[in-house]
Symmetry: C2
Subunit: 177 residues, 2 copies
Amino acid sequence: MSQRDEREGRILYEGAKFDILLKTIEGRSGAKTEKPYIHHPGAVVLIPETSHGGLILIENRRFAVEETILEVPAGTLHWGEDPVEAAHRELEEETGWRASTLVPVMTYFSAPAFTNEVMHVFLAQDLQRGVLNLDDDEEIRVVEFSREQADSLLTDGKVKDGKTLLALALWKNLRED
Amino acid sequence: MSQRDEREGRILYEGAKFDILLKTIEGRSGAKTEKPYIHHPGAVVLIPETSHGGLILIENRRFAVEETILEVPAGTLHWGEDPVEAAHRELEEETGWRASTLVPVMTYFSAPAFTNEVMHVFLAQDLQRGVLNLDDDEEIRVVEFSREQADSLLTDGKVKDGKTLLALALWKNLRED
């Protein structure tokens, strides 16, 4: 998990969620170049399992790809925030469900070619109704899938989001262990 | 696959590989904010399968995360480049192996919260010796894994890179079908 003041390089952009910097890199020849990277506080990814063994996903409008895509609930950490706290917050805000149980599954780098963003994946269980609370710029619809439907999403082409595909694979793997 | 001139918004950075733009987004309330995104030509991801059924990976120095991490070979498309051509190129340059067979496995968005980068995943088979050809700023070591070793990488914590974890899961899935 990065802290905001650990950023290195020339500031290109300072944002509400993350910053963008230009860092000087020395090649094997000694030649120097500047490369941009997103300095990121990290994010949480939820695998919300219903009491029937199904999965809760969201249809999420994404301006960067100009599409509404099917995703697991997820969200950016506040700088320095505990991932468990963020996971509880994002799950409730984006789906209207609260989890009594959060099991850490994995942490990984989302796109190490250009960001230090770390993804913290949690299995969310024992769900109870909470309060949906979307940000002004969020357009989200909550969708529930049965276990069979969810498992087929890994290969049927309906999911285009990398973190969601990996979450589906990890969830299947957890149940096979 | 995006073209370079399809970018939208205010230019923050123009790079050799990708650009960064600020796009104006209107929230549900009508309020407008500017958000940054990486306008990206897309990337290829290789699953190089050896004649013994093993897997070729690379240890790759990543400045953005300040670590050397275990990854599948991958690389950025040139703007407008055919993904199949890029896949052949990147596999040989990064691993010194050439593939006679490339099977398209999947395409997905790497990080749709802040980039339109599309990942094109290929299974690379019928490998022959080619010529390793690293860029000046690349520090890469090629490592071969047996099938058993590769399958355990999905859960043993040795792989921290999202695209590699997903590639490992997809490869396992392909063989189970």
